[in-house]
Symmetry: D2
Subunit: 238 residues, 4 copies
């Protein structure tokens, strides 16, 4: 399995508070813990040629992990369309935190993907609501994060195919913070935590969920459906 | 309730076989039977200024019914985006037959919306699989259409929120031919039948389903959610 | 529309704190505000003959509202089965608060319907997560209840057909507190609030949701499906 | 992984046409092809003590495959309840063909599970409608069975969590013939084909789907949720 971890990698360059937590970038930390799994992991970032997502790279990627925040608009329409198309063709996609507003996720959802937010160093508790799901494997009743950004409902997404985590926030809000979607032949997992100013991606349970998510979104070897004009399989009497 | 029936209205101009069946256009027949309900119905077509869908028209439309086929690409990106946005803002949308490939529907679904098709004058039988749904009100176990175009699976849509009709085709295929989706604050009903060379929209049961669909997709008066930065509702201890 | 409000009506007899809040019983208050709608409302309670739910009563009931808590086991198996069967035959069902553990709801869900709970006079905030749903009509972004019993995840129900409200609790839990289910030809709405020691059913927003719920679960006039041995509709070549 | 294949095993004893096709019973054939996977497979049948499903057997079973037809009522209430409870506690369940009417499946669904049927040696074609699903792995666009019993809609089940196959029948009906459900901590896969008078379980694609199904329903190692009275995780100000 080939996994590509994509990161905007801008906060890390401009905000010392972020680069102190993630000296090799958010993508670096995520690639590190995914490397513990039996997978091949590379990274790609916004400022690379074609954002590091050439046709060749995309063609060989089984699962793409996406983190973006302040520069969604700098992702070219062309690359965003290609990534969307690869998901429809079967590439798995793990969408993290502020990537709810990425071009790719919005194109795949068809909605605004808007939400409430607040940066107030508050506590988040992610409750498991689907304990049968492989993405929760090894996770207890909840994951507690001492300080995170708040995301609150209404989260403007289509009703998820599966709802896996619900977040409680100290300031009084709730959020559908783990959810799966199937689009075309691709599987998508959205996972809420991971604001750049907190060490969330060092949390072992958060890592476990992302690992589980990567495994869950990877494609099956079911043949691609055939579309278009079709000959009848039975005799038509007309 | 203000309903606008939008039609491409091209087959009617170029194909005598179509204009014979629908001398006032497909939109004319649909508007006629919707007029039997206690609603205000107008029509709009592709070749009108802004396709008949100005900001003023859209702002006052509660439900938009959409039929298109051969000229999807001639709908401007601008109008398609505005219509999508109005759906997200609460306008109901009924998507008929070949409008599965309309810009608006594809933008809202996020998938290719592709399918199998065949024009072979074959029989279609639409089975009710959700007899609790208001859209099936007054419909028996199935609707039978002696001659229709075939649409077959795989239909590349997100898993519908509700699956209402399943079609059987004489040539050996099946299709999810009645399905609902919620996107933003808007409700969407896709209904399969209605190829331009058949008198499908004169069928009383098809008319009943479309009437039911129009009623079902109309907006509620729930206030719009508030998005963006939010003050805490509870004290945060940090 | 005939609505029957069923109540266990035991706390009201044994606990002065409850009878002070609900001197005519929880059913009395619910029947009162439903009477404001254009419906016919009656009540039935556990200690009546057949719990007030004779075959005649059930046959004429369009929507049944159910509140129970400490005496679920005293509902006879026979009546519970009859009520379940009437739901499958099309009677709407609104299940309130501790009725999550009623025989009828558990039979219809097929799961334990278990949850976490706590009586600690804590704040509950019910967030709307499906603003398109008629059950949220007229409700703002959330409903706030100053003091309620806590119900927390994991709530052992099947994934709801529609998730409408999510609760935030002061003590740190979340809950899927408004959810719909279709079973057979019947529609079901579960709504969480309403512990007997709080005046929750006097809250105008809670009342509005229950009124909306009653309207939503009422049956359509779609004919009943036919089951069993069926003659072919097409020629079989074998 | 421990798999138990349960079979009523009555047609095989009373109907030579069945025993000729399945001389070692339907369970024998299913156990044989599951043995090709890296799993431990045993069988159990109705006429064994406790139907072969003692507490010890159930406790060690990861996945139960169930086939029954004419003797559903002979399964004791006690065993049916125990099996249901084991599913809620995490045992996977694959429900085949006429087991739609088994006590266990009906208890888990909460509905009548009724349907249309016909024995007319007709053709069935099962179309894949969810090509992302692991249960379709390795299966093409459809599976064709030359002769099978017909099952037709309306199929009285709750809306499935995932719809995987849709059947077309020569006689004019359609059916949701592959569907998944989660109940409690257990996963359930219903798969339609397999009437006792046809050699359906020798079909390699049918076998592949059942193998995939067994793998999909097996439990995760997510800890069991805790239910009941719960201490607050946060300070409550009242």
């Amino acid at each position: 399995m080939n996994v590509v971890v994509w990161n905007e990698n801008r906060h890390e360059k401009s905000n010392p508070a972020v680069s102190e937590i993630y000296p090799e970038g958010i993508h670096g930390v995520i690639a590190d813990f995914l490397n513990e799994e039996n997978v091949s992991v590379t990274t790609a970032t916004l400022d690379e040629e074609q954002h590091g997502l050439t046709d060749e790279v995309l063609a060989e990627t089984d699962v793409l992990v996406w983190w973006g925040h302040k520069a969604h608009e700098e992702v070219t329409e062309e690359v965003a369309e290609k990534v969307k198309q690869r998901v429809l063709d079967g590439m798995g996609l793990v969408v993290l935190h502020s990537a709810h507003f990425s071009k790719v996720f919005k194109k795949l959802m068809g909605t605004s993907c808007d939400l409430k937010w607040r940066e107030a160093d508050e506590k988040e508790r992610l409750w498991v609501v689907d304990p049968t799901h492989p993405i929760t494997e090894g996770i207890g009743e909840y994951i507690e994060l001492e300080k995170e950004e708040m995301y609150g409902e209404h989260f403007d997404i289509p009703a998820p195919d599966e709802l896996i985590f619900l977040s409680w926030f100290e300031g009084g809000e709730v959020f559908r913070s783990g959810a799966t979607f199937k689009r075309g032949r691709g599987k998508i997992f959205y996972f809420r935590p991971g604001h750049e100013t907190y060490p969330t991606y060092y949390n072992k349970e958060v890592q476990k969920v992302i690992k589980n998510g990567v495994n869950w979104v990877k494609n099956t070897s079911t043949p691609a459906p055939v579309y278009g004009n079709a000959q009848p399989l039975e005799t038509i009497n007309n």
